[in-house]
């Protein structure tokens, strides 16, 4: 969470990253940027929650056990959001890992903010 990167005059703070991708927070815009599957996409609060839900709703086990001939590609489309992801099963798993890590870090940030600033100050 300490690393900062400047990207076209927007201040990013890295929230969480894995080998496959990373999530950055922009304090000035109140949003998050997700660097994943070859693109950097902007998500506001509502859309980030919707993305998490969409990813969590994918039944990975069912897809693994599915012996049909359909491609194991998931299209993740979020209502009222400019972005859509077309992910293979491996990418879905990676995305899930990235998002769950992100939410853990956001929760941790919440606890830190509470303990360091809100309660003490």
């Amino acid at each position: 969470m300490q690393k900062t990167a400047v990207f076209s005059q927007v201040n990013f703070v890295e929230v969480f990253s894995t080998k496959q991708g990373a999530v950055f927070q922009s304090d000035s815009e109140y949003c998050w940027y997700i660097d994943f599957a070859g693109k950097l996409a902007r998500f506001d609060y509502r859309n980030l929650l919707k993305l998490r839900q969409a990813i969590n709703n994918i039944d990975i086990e069912q897809i693994l056990l599915n012996s049909g001939k359909t491609a194991d590609v998931e299209i993740i489309f979020i209502c009222a959001c400019d972005h859509c992801y077309v992910l293979s099963l491996l990418e879905v798993i990676a995305m899930k890992e990235l998002l769950s890590g992100t939410f853990v870090m956001l929760e941790l940030n919440h606890i830190i903010q509470d303990r360091l600033f809100r309660i003490v100050a």
């Binding site: 109140y30 956001l106 919440h110």
Partner: protein
């Protein structure tokens, strides 16, 4: 780094999920009462039918209270889908037995939310829930009292007619 999650919403995702489950439960309750009102009306228990119509409205009111609270706190209130409502009952008494069961399950589920709030120190939601605890005292009392009428009046002869007449008069006005 700003705590955007907290800035946008007071509720934790766990509490929000529980509140949405409760919204569904209240909606289900309301529909069940409506179905009971229909059954009572069809079988000639008009006072009980009115009683259940009123209960259905109250449950709907509870549902909206939860619904608005979730929205006011920045959460996402989900309009629930209600299915599988029982249409037929075996007896007049069974209707009231199920009404009490329903109220007990609502009380237990609100207690469960409160337990979660305690764990998270979410005193804001806890305070909001207090109104419901008081309400549940009344709801359970009324449902229990209705069943008691079956014991004290008895179902023989004109018993059911008497019970029906008295159901409409059940009141809870404890100051405690």
């Amino acid at each position: 780094m700003k705590d955007i999650m907290r800035i946008k919403c007071l509720l934790s995702s766990d509490v929000e999920t529980l509140l949405n489950q409760q919204i569904k439960k209240e909606a289900l309750s309301s529909s069940i009462y409506l179905s009971m009102a229909s059954w009572c009306n069809r079988n000639g228990y008009d006072f009980s039918s009115d009683y259940f119509f009123k209960q259905a409205e109250e449950e709907r009111h509870h549902q909206l209270k939860f619904y608005k609270y979730v929205l006011d706190m920045g959460g996402n209130a989900i309009s629930p889908e209600v299915t599988d409502i029982k249409l037929e009952y075996n007896s007049f008494r069974e209707v009231f037995e199920e009404a009490l069961d329903q109220e007990i399950s609502v009380t237990q589920s609100i207690k469960n939310i409160a337990a979660r709030c305690h764990k998270e120190q979410d005193y804001v939601t806890l305070e909001f829930l207090n109104w419901f605890f008081k309400e549940q005292r009344e709801e359970e009392y009324k449902a229990r009292r209705a069943l008691e009428l079956f014991e004290v009046i008895g179902e023989e002869g004109t018993g059911r007619w008497q019970i029906d007449k008295h159901v409409g008069q059940i009141k809870y006005d404890s100051e405690a």
